[in-house]
């Protein structure tokens, strides 16, 4: 049986959908059987990021309400035969599904796939509760901003309350230049507060926007740094130990300086 992973954040727009698309595609690239589930009902866009919008016939609500079988709602990816998407309904509200139904659906998908990745909507309401139902692991996406980290912390607390422990963190949209100037929170600062395992760091990268618009996840682009970041994340999910990208190099020097007693705040 496969593993289900929910990608969540609390705060909106930090990169959940981008992360889901890239990790999913990256896992498929190395041969895993993957199903992406868009749980952002009413605001779906995982299909767009994957470039599969024009193939949608049925959606998650159709499956849950028994209008069609899971098989017929799954859309096969254009690039990989082992990658599928279950799209969200665009015309319904989040409360059209409940956590029990989601759990049943995810369990069913796990029978057939190595990985089931669920793209969670922003917020902590019904949509969030649906998305985490049936998840074995949670990946928390944050950006290096105080408000995003605060929301991530809130989410970790809610996941614990739901007995989903040991989530892993992806810090997205890191800007090495800002870190160098000391104008951006460092990963260390964030881990210090959130106290969870770091799964990956992804730079703020134009190629994400380009690839999103083309419907072609950056993970497929050998030359893209963010693509490399996502490929590393995929390998870590598969159990390999891969060093983190050197996006915060300058900070190491600063840390060393602090260590030997020059320079003040972290």
């Amino acid at each position: 049986m496969g593993k289900s992973i929910v990608i969540t954040s609390g705060k909106g727009g930090v990169g959940k959908t981008t992360t889901t698309a890239n990790i999913g595609t990256g896992l498929a690239q190395i041969g895993r059987k993957v199903c992406l589930v868009d749980a952002d009902i009413g605001l779906r866009n995982l299909d767009v990021v994957m470039g599969l919008e024009n193939r949608i016939v049925y959606d998650l609500i159709d499956v849950v309400e028994g209008h069609c079988r899971v098989r017929s709602a799954l859309i096969k990816d254009k690039r990989f035969d082992n990658l599928f998407l279950l799209p969200a309904a665009q015309t319904r509200e989040k409360d059209a599904v409940n956590p029990e139904q989601m759990e049943k659906l995810i369990t069913e998908l796990k029978q057939e796939f190595d990985y089931v990745l669920v793209d969670c909507p922003a917020g902590i309401e019904q949509g969030f509760k649906n998305a985490i139902a049936g998840a074995d692991l949670a990946i928390i996406v944050t950006t290096p901003e105080v408000s995003a980290v605060r929301d991530a912390d809130r989410i970790i607390g809610l996941l614990e309350a739901d007995e989903l422990f040991e989530p892993q963190l992806i810090v997205n949209r890191i800007r090495p230049d800002m870190i160098r100037r000391g104008d951006m929170m460092t990963t260390d600062d964030m881990i210090d507060i959130l106290a969870i395992k770091l799964l990956g760091i992804v730079p703020d990268d134009e190629s994400i926007i380009v690839s999103t618009n083309k419907g072609e996840p950056a993970v497929l682009d050998k030359k893209s740094v963010s693509g490399q970041a996502f490929r590393n994340i995929v390998r870590r999910l598969e159990g390999a130990s891969v060093p983190f990208l050197a996006l915060e190099e300058e900070n190491m020097v600063k840390r060393l300086m602090r260590f030997i007693g020059i320079g003040g705040k972290s």
Binding site: D153, R154, G157, E160, D192, I193, A195, K265, S266
Partner: protein, 206 residues
Amino acid sequence: MSKEACIIKGNKHGLSISIPREMDFAEVLSQLRTRLASAQEFFAGAAVYVSAADRDLEPEEKQQLAKTVEEFGLSITEPEADEAPAPAVESGKDEFKEDTLLLRRTIRSGQKIRYDGNVVVLGDVNPGAEIICSGDILVLGSLRGVAHAGCTGNVNASVFAFRLEPTQLRIANYISRSPDEKLPKPLGPELARVCDNVIQITAYQS
């Protein structure tokens, strides 16, 4: 003007407002407004109990009171039948229970711990989290959220943390908040207690 004043106090049940017997009702409302406005953030979201000593409030007056506290995002809660209304002014003696709640985890944003007794956290208290208790607070980690010790009026209560960097500290009805400019991180354990009518923080020596 009479020397009497409305007394607003926070306690384990929420906020209690006590209204002196003889006081003019218009004066009551105006005092209440000033007091609530001066500490709006502190009071936000608390349950409010009104105790009017032996004074019987007219329904009309009750309504006006309710409207006034609503302006500040509060609402009046009727005390539960079997529970006496929270007394407005507690004796301040060490009557708090000695029970201790041990929390072996990180208290995260949005989580609120209320306890009648002491609270010990083996972990961090993150920004956006709150610990409110009638006794002492000990955090064997970083305290970055809000801590309210001695919430039922015990001014001898204290707050201890390995790294004391709270958003706000309250002891009994004293409040202090973190300065707006960034402070250097504390180097070691620190203890906060009330001294000379202010909350003072000192390095902890065993």
